[in-house]
Subunit: 374 residues, 2 copies
């Protein structure tokens, strides 16, 4: 049931049908190399989060540039990555239920698979699945470092789970998942740094406690595009899970530096390519990208090429641009770029990436793990 | 690249993997029959909007119960419907660009296809495409009846376009698209009725003007699940485009009756089936349905079976339930139902419907037009 690609390779951008998910390949490639360069000399390795792109093609490019492997959130994503040639995957999430755990164990016989835990019963189920398939699974204990999502409290609770993992024959305890998701989007630089410094302190103390109990805790993994500089500077984190840096989005572009300026370290490389489908009044243009082409959970998309236009409202299949003054290039049939508010769930709405260089379609990459929910 | 179904036919609901899109088939079938019953004796025919379900299987059930055909928003949706055995489709939207118009014209050789227009240049392009393929396309002029989205102003502008259509050899003018989308979600009954009454007056006057010019205008089509009773009572609308009535959602369930009570005419039949994947604190449960499993544009999902729990926050792959008091049935591994805030874009995130009756999987239906963006 995959949909046809919205373009042929070699076609000019103007001919790409809309809405489409387009990558500016030059900007994308600069992002791919920029982050490893920023991390040079740091002990932390890059383990990019593939929940952003859901593409083994992009994951392999990241690994070729030095990433230790990638992470993902779902067993189905891990399956798509391994099938696409990725051999080191951290499922940076808890996996619950016998059928998913059996798939995870089976995958661990094909590739290096690690997973997070925050519950003793879940560890038992994971051990049972690994035992049934005679698989070895690497396990990280997730601690809550401030996002109040998954993860046990730092400290003793984490040590207790580490002991359960260590006592499980088919599981190998390797360290801590300490990801502060909500801190990624704190606009103010010092507040963002403060949140991450508290996370680092929690993780450091937990690692100390575990090692003091005689359990090796070599890996501390976490961080994202909004905060990685702080974790990288900690000398505690061994892996950084940045994902959005390859594409960026309107939300990440708003994070502020120490001087109060928004100065993104990465370029916007991902766009939704859309057509003006109606121009009923001078102050309104309707484009063909709405809620099924753009995730608006983190705000409306930006309209980078038309400062006179604001994306004001999304309905299922329509976007409304409010236009403050006369503007060329927004007539019926004209095409334009939008910057999605939030790249990850926007990517998940598409079957294809359309890679653009010098205004031509250079490649078509499937969003291989699109809809990999389980 | 379609994902595997999350269950086998015959399996108990408890074994359906999560997150999954489940239909309570009994409630769904009651909804399917309830709306035609409510319309008995009215001249308006039902033309359900398939952008809700994206399924020719469901469309055929609606037609078998008396619907005159269905509508959709995209050429790709119309292609999936026709391929699935639906022979009368209104694309209740403007279709712009030569490649889409050629596909539309080709489809009009296989089935009865109608489309909306609000621009003279677009009518010329549509005529060119129909001429090239020697196809006949039925055309409705869309008027803006209050949503401020697509559509020309009611009155003279619509007549002008009707004349252009009438002068086009391969196009047949059939009437007006007069859909007030934003009125569907006005909570207050009298305000909602007022908005629709103004829409009806606009459409009535426009039809009069067109007929006075000697152009037949037999069809007036529009309405939705939130407002159809008003349009049905108008003796103007000949078709009603309700879509959400088959499933309902948390947003539609909040619309108020004349007495200020929320008393939905249709039952909630669509759920997201989810698993508690983490229970880190007594007041917090994390489920495996986040932004990629639920559209939150119209608000967070409801938690119908646990009044002590509120779906407080969605991140990409997680939902956070805040729990006000001790509750059984929300331990790690427990599964529960969520009512999506907005059914249409939620359905578009899934490849499969899992039809449930008496707690067993009775059917697996593909979301055939999932991701049909172009």
């Amino acid at each position: 049931m995959a949909n046809r690609p919205p373009a042929d390779i070699g076609a000019p951008l103007a001919e790409v049908d809309t809405p489409a998910l387009v990558i500016d390949l030059d900007a994308f490639e600069r992002n791919l190399t920029a982050l490893p360069r920023l991390l040079q000399g740091r002990p932390a390795r890059l383990r990019p989060h593939s929940k952003t792109h859901k593409s083994p093609i992009i994951a392999r490019k990241q690994i070729a540039l030095g990433a230790v492997g990638v992470c993902c959130q779902k067993v189905g994503e891990a399956e798509a990555l391994v099938a696409g040639g990725v051999d080191d995957v951290l499922i940076a999430n808890e996996i619950v239920g016998a059928s998913k755990l059996r798939r995870l164990a089976a995958l661990a016989r094909q590739a290096r698979i690690a997973v997070c835990v925050d519950d003793a019963g879940n560890i038992t189920e994971l051990e049972d699945a690994a035992s049934e398939l005679d698989a070895r699974v690497t396990v990280l204990v997730e601690i809550n470092v401030g996002s109040n999502r998954c993860g046990v409290a730092p400290g003793q609770a984490a040590l207790d789970l580490a002991r359960v993992v260590t006592a499980s024959k088919h599981l190998r305890f390797d360290g801590l998942q300490a990801y502060h998701g909500s801190a990624q989007h704190i606009r103010n630089h010092d507040e963002r740094r403060g949140a991450i410094e508290r996370a680092i302190a929690s993780a450091r103390e937990t690692k100390r406690l575990i090692e003091q109990a005689g359990i090796a805790c070599p890996r501390v993994t976490g961080a994202g595009t909004g905060s990685f500089a702080f974790e990288a500077a900690s000398d505690l984190y061994t892996e950084l899970q940045c994902g959005s840096y390859v594409f960026m989005d309107a939300d990440y572009n708003k994070n502020l530096d120490a001087d109060g300026k928004a100065r993104p370290q990465f370029e916007q490389s991902l766009y939704v390519w859309t057509t003006v489908m109606s121009r009923p009044t001078p102050d309104r243009a309707i484009v063909d990208a709405g809620l099924k082409a753009l995730s608006v959970d983190s705000g409306m998309p930006a309209v980078p090429d038309f400062p006179q236009a604001t994306f004001a409202r999304a309905s299922d299949e329509h976007g409304r641009l409010d236009i403050s003054e006369a503007v060329d290039g927004l007539d019926v049939g004209d095409k334009l770029r939008l910057i999605p508010g939030h790249c990850d769930p926007t990517v998940n709405l598409y079957d294809w990436y359309v890679g653009i260089r010098r205004n031509r379609v250079e490649c078509l990459w499937p969003v291989a793990a699109r809809g990999a929910l389980t």
